[in-house]
Symmetry: C2
Subunit: 342 residues, 2 copies
């Protein structure tokens, strides 16, 4: 179950894997929290309210939940998302489940933390479409019922701020984790938790090199000792039919935000947790099935044509990464003053 020691250099990024570091890891039952935003029950509850509240979008119709449906796979089952006024985004919504285990957020990792990420979509014209964060803050302040929650958590006075709202949303997101998948149970010792095909798929997944990038508890390259976002070039091998068919090089990835040559086609390694819940796939949502995605990845990252049976086995293994979704009680949002959307 261990994979070979390997070292991959792509652009300016070096990923090293030793036998030890590459062991199968299980998902913790609690996500790590930053020192300046400790998790509390009250903060999580407020964050959940804000996450589900569509009133911080220009039309009052789009919330975090709209594209990160935590009643499903934490995404929106669309190739690219739809925001206010029916506007389409340019990339596939990444799942919010287990996003706490990423060391950078968004497909291009342009936000380092969940707190920073939370502010982005609010002012994105094709997402929540507010003119600026001040506008969102004004909305928040004009719903009287929120004040008591902010005061309770952040202290009375100027408790309602953009940063505090983002902290609450991030705290909620840190509870969106799905431990105890069949894979986790298997690794912990329950050898019946995965079936034969899944075990075979797990071995193939490692043997073929998928785990070179998709390592660590969240299968996103974040393992012990890794302290910042893990990026890879995709496609690494661009001269194949899939790349053309699915237009995989049209989007320049991390370069679009950094404008650094070395960041062209660099992408954050996405988690594979609950991946059977997040079709369609890849940064542009162009690939509809997991089977096809496995083939695309093998060809474009490992320059490899997998056999049909290998693909099926890997897909079966990926199915074992669906964890236990925590039971969540719906938040109850404070009432709307009639002139909120003016």
């Amino acid at each position: 179950m261990k994979f070979l020691s390997t070292s991959i250099v792509i652009g300016t990024i070096i990923l090293s894997f030793s036998l030890e570091a590459a062991q199968w890891e299980t998902l913790p039952e609690i996500a790590p929290e930053p020192k300046d935003n400790p998790t509390s029950k009250e903060k999580v509850e407020l964050g959940k309210m804000l996450f589900f509240d569509p009133r911080f979008s220009s039309t009052g119709t789009v919330s975090c939940f709209s594209c990160h449906n935590v009643m499903e796979g934490g995404d929106d089952h669309r190739s690219v998302s739809i925001g206010v006024h029916g506007k389409k985004g340019g990339r596939n919504a990444p799942t919010v489940w287990n996003s706490a285990f990423h060391l950078s957020q968004f497909w291009d990792g342009r936000a380092a933390t969940l707190e920073e990420q939370a502010k982005g979509p609010v002012v994105n014209p094709v997402e929540m479409g507010m003119n600026d964060l001040d506008g969102a803050l004004k909305r928040l302040k004009s719903i009287p019922g929120y004040k008591v929650y902010f005061d309770n958590i952040f202290g009375e006075g100027e408790s309602i701020t953009v940063d505090n709202a983002a902290k609450a949303v991030a705290a909620y997101e840190r509870t969106l984790i799905t431990p105890n998948s069949p894979y986790d149970l298997y690794v912990k010792g329950d050898k019946k938790a995965m079936n034969e095909q899944q075990v075979r798929g797990m071995e193939t997944f490692a043997a073929k090199g998928c785990a070179a990038c998709h390592s660590g508890p969240a299968f996103n390259g974040v393992t012990k000792g890794v302290t910042s976002g893990v990026f890879m070039k995709f496609p690494t091998f661009a001269d194949n039919e899939y790349v053309k068919k699915y237009k995989l090089i049209d989007d320049l990835g991390r370069y679009e935000s950094t404008k650094k040559e070395a960041d062209k086609h660099m992408w954050r390694v996405p988690t594979l947790r609950n991946v059977t819940y997040t079709a369609p796939y890849l940064h542009n949502g162009a690939v509809k099935t997991l089977e096809e995605t496995v083939k695309v990845m093998a060809k474009s990252q490992l320059n490899m044509d997998l056999e049909e049976k290998e693909v099926e086995d890997i897909v079966a293994f990926l199915g074992a990464l669906t964890g236990k979704f925590p039971e969540q009680i719906m938040p109850h949002l404070p009432p709307t003053p009639g002139d909120l959307l003016e």
Copy 2:
């Protein structure tokens, strides 16, 4: 606390109130259910899944929940709703809370039952925008995870039908009731449940004639002996500044669906339960505050100018109609096949 015996004839509708019928009534803790759709725990759970599932809209972005936000007042805090592609509807979203206590659905009562209502928005081009119910059914059938729920409730075989889906949604909606408001507790005998102003407002509400239409447990005219939807002409007195300012006669109401002259400007009497949660107000959502709405209604239905203090008292009383929103666990929706939205 009883109001005068009165008889109102509007169009073809006759509403009679006797002293007995007009007594203050409390909201039952269980909603009535039709014989052909008995409520069960499993059916409610499936209905909740369907209610929250946006995959039965053309874009995959709009669910029942989008406009009937049960985390708020059961509506969408907008003057008129926004459906697929950012399209705007023509009327204000009525609250889904306590809709089980209506004897007709929609503002114009064009659906007699919740089951019938549930099918409407799916194929409304400015709401969920599916071409036809068959298209929605095809979507539903193509999500493999739903089958087991339908089979379990409706029997194996052709369990997935539009009618069964509508039955499940209606069964869920029958659980969306908010009993035990301060008003209910007061009427049941807890004289401290409402404050002095609310009690004064309650008396003013009855004395001025508001309760002539807004009677019964849901304050929607449905009282003992009433067996079909209760409609009233609005505005009854149309020659006032409010009617002009808020364009209250532009929409012909029930006439728009029946094309009967007698139905011009006839509207179903809406519930006043949780009305402080459902701004903005009236069929076109043109009136932003409850204070102004009370003035509009008094002038347009009773040809009466209320004193400021009377308005404040009535609004305080209406605040006592906010009930206990039941705790709800989020549903967990089955995964999406990648080609669902094609």
